[in-house]
């Protein structure tokens, strides 16, 4: 177990280290490219297997005699463990397992979960399949956190954004491949097996992708060990995102509104995709392969559009406005699917673009309203609430389909989108009453940032000019964070600091 606090300040290259895995040293491009590839494959297996039920919905219902209400347990039980794990998973990686062991454990859980799921299918025992999805859920979401942590370890600065974007795109590609491959695979396997045995065999074959993820986790472990020996740094450095639930008291209203959109918007996307195949087959009279393809359009488009739209939102700013536009556009797409028989390709393409737009604009908003050291908690809360919502609403969606049909299901999703619409309008109003940060254009935001840092500089000069600077080290002067400066000022005048700001240096009080 590695001690994450250990920082070696003078790395020494060991000349006698033999590279037996690749021909490049860890600092070089091709080694980091290999690591990037492995990090992407890490997430591929779990995203591929997450939507297996959706791609085979009609076979699940037919072979296992399931109602829609029962079918959605496969999704809601994936989400239940993640209500808690969003907080605990990152903590476990930071403090208990370390990044390497943690990743391997989570990848292993994903493999076990999918195997139990497949075994349940092979034996025709639905309860076993739900248990398998539960185990898969424990591993899956935490594996995504581990993936992000690896990225932060290996890549810094501007390239980190690109790496995150690439990881997400790869994940989306995994989902897309799932939707387009599972139907032909089932068709091929059904020549040799029938009924739920056929389903089980198909799921076992799908489990090989999780094995792939486990293998890349193991290879990454080896690579990361070498990186640590050569470069020597194993802590995540200054971007520690510790989760402290007590931080919640300090969160502004805008954060809770953003979390509200995180929940209500995604509730109209993910449960819809889970139930989409049979909806497209029945309402639009599509055959299973086409229905799966249309269902996967959201992910295909997201794989391509997310990085591009992310760039756009970075350049242009005005996040809150883009969120509003996405919600309205998704409302329109769902309305098309509910109230017309118009070709669903149109609506699903629209939904894919809106979904990518919202993801690119929404998550950075959390970083805009929450200070760095509370971001871990903030993201954890947003994810936890989202998973809670998904777990509950997916079950409800299944009941609605059984009792009220697909029109009522669409009305249900439209209702959630109306809630998201309401919240995004509220964000615009409240934000414009405040400092307007969430809806600034990129140039306005830059101007605002320079203004703030100028104020911080002014404050610091005043502090410097007041004398008695003997205990100020050069590193203090390099710190530009206004939080840091404010805290130091407060501690000098003897004001009590909040608990979580106590770590780090203590300062002598001013006379």
């Amino acid at each position: 177990m590695e001690d994450p606090e250990e920082v070696v300040t003078n790395p020494r290259r060991r000349q006698d280290e033999e590279d037996d895995v690749s021909c490049c040293s860890p600092a070089h491009l091709c080694s980091r490219a290999l690591a990037l590839l492995l990090m992407c494959i890490l997430g591929f297996g779990s995203y591929f297997c997450y939507d297996n039920p959706a791609a085979l919905q009609d076979y699940f219902k037919h072979d296992l005699q399931l109602t829609t209400t029962e079918f959605v347990y496969l999704y809601s039980w994936y989400s239940w463990p993640n209500v808690v794990l969003c907080f605990v998973g990152g903590f476990l990686i930071d403090r208990v397992f370390g990044i390497r062991l943690g990743t391997v454990i989570y990848a292993f859980l994903v493999v076990v979960g999918q195997l139990v799921f497949a075994l349940g299918g092979y034996l025709g025992k639905f309860w076993l399949m739900v248990v398998g999805r539960f185990i898969f859920g424990i591993g899956g979401e935490s594996l995504a956190v581990a993936q992000n942590n690896y990225a932060v370890l290996w890549f810094k600065g501007k390239e980190l954004n690109m790496v995150f974007g690439l990881q997400l795109s790869f994940a989306r590609v995994g989902s897309t491949v799932n939707f387009n491959v599972m139907e032909p695979l089932y068709g091929w396997v059904s020549h040799y097996y029938h009924g739920y045995t056929c389903l089980g065999v198909v799921l076992f074959i799908a489990a090989t992708t999780t094995l792939l993820s486990l293998i890349s986790a193991l290879i990454l472990t080896v690579l990361d060990k070498r990186r640590e020996r050569h470069i020597g740094q194993n802590s995540v450095g200054g971007t520690e995102e510790v989760v402290r639930l007590s931080d919640v008291r300090y969160f502004p209203v805008t954060f809770w509104l953003v979390a509200g959109i995180c929940v209500s918007y995604y509730l109209a996307i993910f449960p819809f995709i889970a139930l989409g195949k049979v909806f497209f087959m029945r309402k639009f009279e599509m055959d299973p392969k086409d229905a799966n393809f249309v269902n996967s359009l959201v992910f295909i488009i997201s794989a391509v559009a997310s990085p591009l739209l992310g760039l756009l939102v970075d350049k242009v700013g005005r996040n809150a406005f883009w969120v509003l536009v996405s919600v309205v556009s998704t409302l329109g797409c769902h309305a098309l699917l509910a109230f017309t028989f118009l070709n669903p390709y149109i609506a699903m393409v629209g939904m894919g673009v809106s979904y990518s737009m919202l993801a690119s604009a929404l998550w950075p908003m959390v970083a805009l309203v929450i200070p760095d050291h509370q971001l871990g908690t903030a993201y954890g809360i947003a994810q936890a609430v989202q998973n809670l919502g998904l777990a509950l609403v997916t079950m409800l969606a299944g009941v609605i389909v059984d009792k009220g049909g697909y029109l009522l299901l669409e009305m249900f999703f439209l209702g959630w989108l109306c809630v998201a619409l309401l919240i995004s309008i509220l964000i615009l109003i409240i934000d414009s009453n405040g400092d307007g940060l969430l809806n600034m254009s990129a140039s306005q935001r830059e101007a605002w940032e320079t203004q703030r840092s100028e104020q911080a500089d002014l404050e610091r000069e005043k502090l410097l000019a007041s004398g008695a600077m003997a205990d100020v080290s050069p590193q203090d002067q390099l710190q530009r964070s206004d939080f840091h400066i404010r805290n130091r000022f407060l501690s000098r005048i003897g004001a009590p600091l909040p608990e979580h700001c106590q770590r780090g240096r203590r300062y002598q009080a001013l006379r």
């Binding site: 389909v401 009792k403 049909g405 439209l414 209702g415 509220l426 009453n433």
Partner: protein, 400 residues
């Protein structure tokens, strides 16, 4: 503004004026004389159901003798029924009459049940390798149950003992007469007006032929005729419906229209959803398709001995156009009939114009509140923001 009009378009039909409610009365074997020999007058073989409204009465005659026949006749409110009992089934005169004459009538006979061999699993009766007909005359039909209320009536018929037991199987026919608008009590919850009756036919435990090796499917042949001379009915009209609230997962409705209905007037029609259920628990997972085939003109000889022949008399041969409507149950890869040995299909048989689709109040409310609330807040919030901005702009020149 736009969403207000949109909501209004949805609300108006939902709250539209309901039709007047009809009272249902019924009689078994009406006017059956004591010396009647064909069957005991206590044994119901003819049911006369009257749905009495303010302007007219819809009479349903449901008969079990020979083949099950359903007749719907629209008469004046106080019309009387006269049956020539002693010549029933033996004459080509009009033995069953209303006084005064009905303004319109529409009749249906359950002619035969067709068992067809489908080794290629196409679920298409016209492409079957071979088929066996179960003549409905050879079933022994009895009335199992009658449940009546002020505004509705439910009669359960049972046909069994085919050819004195040579084949096993039951055919259950549940007939309902409605006096008010609504939806059928069981799936597929067919929408009906106050001029409607509903027929549910269930083929239960029918013994399939061994030659067909459990790859058999069943279908029905119905004979239909209406009282307008010369014109037969067009093919079945298929339309798509947005609202699957009542039949989750089914977005189609089929209508058999008589020429009057097609021309926008009041006439007879049959409506059904192209779905048949393969289990008494009617879930969408336990359903299969109900496929219809083009109408064919038939000779009136098929209707000999049934109530329709006794009602229409020789008009059936010379003036009216009886046609056959075939329906088959099954879809590829559903395992054929033998997997559950249960096929249930429902249709409404009614007078007037087919009911229009309308969204339920729940749908309208969700739209109204869901879109209205954000719109209101957007408008007021935007106005508030504009007012605030103009106020700060006015204040600025005051700051030096």
């Amino acid at each position: 503004m736009l969403w207000l009009t949109f909501v209004a378009i949805l609300i108006v039909p939902a709250l539209s004026q309901q039709d007047p409610v009809r009272e249902i009365h019924w009689a078994s074997n009406p006017g059956c004389p004591d010396n009647f020999t064909r069957w005991d007058c206590n044994e119901t073989q003819i049911l006369h159901v009257m749905a009495k409204g303010p302007n007219d009465t819809i009479n349903y005659l449901w008969a079990l003798y020979s083949k099950p026949a359903l007749l719907m006749a629209v008469t004046e409110p106080e019309a009387r029924l006269q049956i020539d009992w002693n010549q029933l089934g033996n004459s080509s005169k009009r033995l069953i009459r209303f006084d005064p004459q009905p303004t319109y009538s529409f009749g249906l006979v359950l002619d035969r049940i067709i068992e067809f061999y489908d080794p290629l699993d196409k679920a298409d009766m016209t492409q079957a390798n071979s088929s066996i007909a179960w003549d409905c005359r050879k079933f022994s039909w009895t009335v199992k149950d009658v449940t009546s209320g002020v505004e509705n009536l439910r009669v359960e018929l049972l046909g069994n003992n085919y050819e004195n037991g040579s084949k096993i199987g039951n055919v259950s026919v549940v007939l309902s007469a409605f006096g008010s608008d609504g939806y059928g009590p069981l799936l597929p919850h067919m929408q009906h007006s106050n001029n409607a009756s509903q027929v549910e036919i269930t083929l239960e435990n029918l013994e399939t032929s061994e030659d067909f090796k459990s790859e058999a499917r069943f279908g029905l042949q119905l004979m239909v005729v209406d009282s307008v001379p010369g014109e037969g009915m067009d093919d079945v009209l298929h339309r798509r419906s947005l609202d699957d609230e009542h039949t989750p997962g089914v977005f189609d409705i089929n209508t058999l229209q008589t020429p009057e209905v097609r021309n926008g007037e009041a006439g007879g029609y049959m409506e059904w959803r192209p779905v048949a259920y393969t289990s008494p628990v009617r879930a969408i997972e336990e359903s299969t398709s109900a496929v219809h085939y083009p109408l064919k003109n038939v000779s009136q000889a098929h209707l000999k001995g049934t109530l329709l022949h006794d009602f229409y008399g020789h008009n059936l041969a010379h003036v009216l156009v009886p046609q056959s409507l075939n329906i088959s149950f099954g879809i590829s890869e559903d395992g054929f009939y033998d997997v559950t040995k249960y096929n249930a299909w429902t249709f409404t048989m009614a007078y007037g114009q087919p009911p229009k689709d309308k969204f339920s109040l729940l749908v309208i409310m969700i739209l109204a509140v869901g879109l209205g609330l954000p719109a209101v807040i957007f408008v007021f919030g935007g106005a508030y923001m504009c007012v605030k901005k103009s106020r700060t702009r006015r204040d600025e020149p005051l700051i030096n």
